[in-house]
Symmetry: C2
Subunit: 311 residues, 2 copies
C-alpha cells in the first residue's frame, strides 16, 4: 500500500463534509458570524511523549485527548481535527490500522471528525501532530490572562496520578492500575470547560504539572498565586509515601485537569457544577497582588521547582 | 533557554491578534459569514523532505512555501499558519533563531502571520508540521473534482527543475544554479491561483510530479487525461539530455506549479492572466471520457510510471 491507499482506506472513513473525502489540497470550512473558531496544536514525538511500544490504538487516543484538553481549557466545543503522521516505512502497515481504530473510537466518544492532514514516512521515529478546532459563542472563550486579585484558584479531579502511572509503568502491582490508566488515557474535561464559560475568569489545562501551569496563570495576569499545599487533591496509593505523591501532583505532567480562577462569589455555582457533572472541584489557592514571585506556597517556606522542560 | 523562552523570544514576534501573544491554550479566530476558511497541512521530515544540513532559514522557507502552494491550488488567499516544530535538544539553540528568521522573511513576502503551534524536543530528527489557513469568498475555492470532458489541461511555469536541482545538489556546475534554487525555494503561485477562481474548473499543485498529480485530477473527476509530451514546458540545461529533463518533468516532485482544467472557451482569458502575471501557462493536455486509464500519452504508446511514494 502507498500513502494514497492508506488515506483512501483508513483515513477517509474518519472525515466529515469539510474534508470533501480528502480529495482536495485543503479542507473548506463554512464560517459563521456568531461563532469563534478555536485552534490549537499538540505534537507527540516518539521517545519523548510516548515510548513507542504502546498499542498504536492507545497512542492515537492520547494524541487526540491531549488536544481535546486544550479545547476544554478554552471552554470550547471540539468539532474537528487535522492530523499529520510521520512514520518509518516498515512500521506503516502494522501501525496505521490500529492507530486509526483508536481515532475512530475516540471520534465517537467525543463527537468529532477528521478534516485533513498529511501522511509521510520518517527515518526512524514516529511523530504525530494534531491541530484541533473547536467553537465557542463569539468572545466567550476562556483566556489565561483575566484573573483578578482575590480570585479563587480551583482545580478539577485529582493531580499526580498520571506521573505516578508513568513512573511505575512497568510495575505489576495492582496499586498502579488506575494511575497507569490515567497516564494512557487522559480524560479531557470538555463538559466542565464549557460549563465554566461565564463563570471562570481564566483557565488552563494542567499538562505540565500544577506548579508550572499555575505559574502561567499568575504570570499572564501579572498576579501572584498563593497555593495551599494542604488542599491539593491527591490520589491514595498505599505503597507510596505522601511526599512522593504530592511531588507528582505539583511537578508531574499529563494530568489534563482544568485549573481556573473565579470570583469568590461563584462558590455555590462551582459546587453546583461539580455536583451536576460529578467532577471534584477543589479550591487550592488565591490570587494576590504580584510581589517578587508568581507562585508561593501558603505557610511553607520551600520554593517551587521546575517541571519537565523540553530544552 | 527552555521552550517557553524560545516561544517568548522568537515565535511571539511572528504572531497576529488571533494568537493573543501565544498566551492561551489556543488561537481564537473570528468567523465571517461571507468567507470560507481553507485549511491544509504539510509536514517536512528530516531525511525525507530535506537533508538536515541546509541553512535552517531555507528549511523554514520551504516548509512555509509547500503549504502556501496548497492555498494557491485552492485559489485561496493565505492569512495565517500554525507551526509544530520537533527538534533534538542539542540543536535547538543554533537552529531556532535561523529558522525563525526564514519564517519572518517569508511572512513579509507572503503577508501572513503565525497563530500558534507547539515546540517539543525529539530524539534524533527534526519534524516540521505547518497547518496553513486561507480564505476565499464563500463557495469559490477550486476543487480537484470538477473537470469536464473537453476541458483543456494547463500547467504554470516549467516542470522538472526542482528534481534536477535535487539530483545535482552537490554539483559545482553553474548549469544547476537555477534548478537548485527552485528546489530550495518553491514559488507558490498564489496570485495565479486567486486569478483562476471563476476560470478553472479543477486545480491541484504539482508537488508529486506531473504524471501523479494529473492522474489525481483525472481520477477525481472520473475522466481520462491525454497528455501531450511534446508540449510539456521543460527547462534548457545544456549538460543534460532531453530524456532526463522530460523524466524529471513527468515524475520529479517539488515543482509547486499549478495544474488546472478549464473550458476551451477560456483560452483568451488564460492568455491575458498569463500576460498580466508574467507567468507562462501551457496547455499540456485534454480531458476525455474515462476508458481503462486515467492518464495516457498522446501519440506515444509508453505507459506512465509512478512518482515518489512514501510507503
Amino acid at each position: 500500500m502507498n500513502e494514497f491507499d492508506y488515506i483512501e482506506k483508513f483515513f477517509r472513513p474518519l472525515t466529515n463534509q469539510y474534508a470533501n473525502n480528502l480529495k482536495n489540497d485543503a479542507a473548506v470550512f463554512k464560517q459563521k458570524n456568531s461563532l469563534d473558531l478555536i485552534i490549537s496544536t499538540d505534537t507527540l514525538a516518539e521517545g519523548i511523549h510516548f515510548f513507542g511500544n504502546e498499542d498504536p490504538k492507545d497512542i492515537a487516543k492520547k494524541s487526540l485527548r491531549v488536544n481535546l484538553s486544550d479545547m476544554a481549557a478554552m471552554g470550547a466545543k471540539p468539532v474537528f481535527y487535522n492530523l499529520s503522521l510521520s512514520i518509518p516505512k516498515e512500521q506503516a502497515n502494522t501501525f496505521i490500522p490500529k492507530f486509526v481504530k483508536g481515532l475512530e473510537e475516540d471520534q465517537g466518544i467525543f463527537d468529532l471528525s477528521l478534516i485533513g492532514g498529511d501522511l509521510t514516512s520518517s527515518l526512524k521515529y514516529i511523530n504525530i501532530t494534531i491541530t484541533i478546532f473547536g467553537e465557542t459563542v463569539s468572545n466567550k472563550s476562556l483566556p489565561r490572562d483575566r484573573s483578578k486579585i482575590g480570585d479563587h484558584l480551583y482545580v478539577s479531579g485529582i493531580l499526580g496520578l498520571s506521573k505516578i502511572g508513568l513512573d511505575n509503568f512497568n510495575s505489576d502491582s495492582k496499586d498502579f492500575l488506575v494511575a497507569k490508566n490515567k497516564y494512557l488515557f487522559p480524560q479531557p474535561r470538555i463538559k466542565l470547560g464549557m460549563a465554566l464559560v461565564n463563570v471562570a475568569n481564566s483557565m488552563i489545562d494542567v499538562s505540565d504539572g500544577l506548579v508550572q501551569d499555575a505559574t502561567h496563570l499568575a504570570k499572564n495576569s501579572n498576579l501572584s498565586i498563593e497555593l495551599n499545599l494542604c488542599k491539593i487533591p491527591t490520589p491514595k496509593i498505599n505503597i507510596l509515601d505522601q511526599k512522593t505523591i504530592l511531588k507528582s501532583a505539583l511537578y508531574g505532567g499529563d494530568d489534563y485537569e482544568l485549573l481556573f480562577s473565579c470570583n469568590p462569589s461563584h462558590k455555590h455555582l462551582i459546587e453546583k457544577i461539580s455536583l451536576d457533572l460529578n467532577i471534584r472541584l477543589t479550591k487550592v489557592g488565591v490570587f494576590k497582588k504580584y510581589k517578587e514571585e508568581f507562585l508561593k506556597f501558603k505557610n511553607n517556606s520551600s520554593k517551587p521547582k521546575n517541571s519537565y522542560l523540553h530544552f
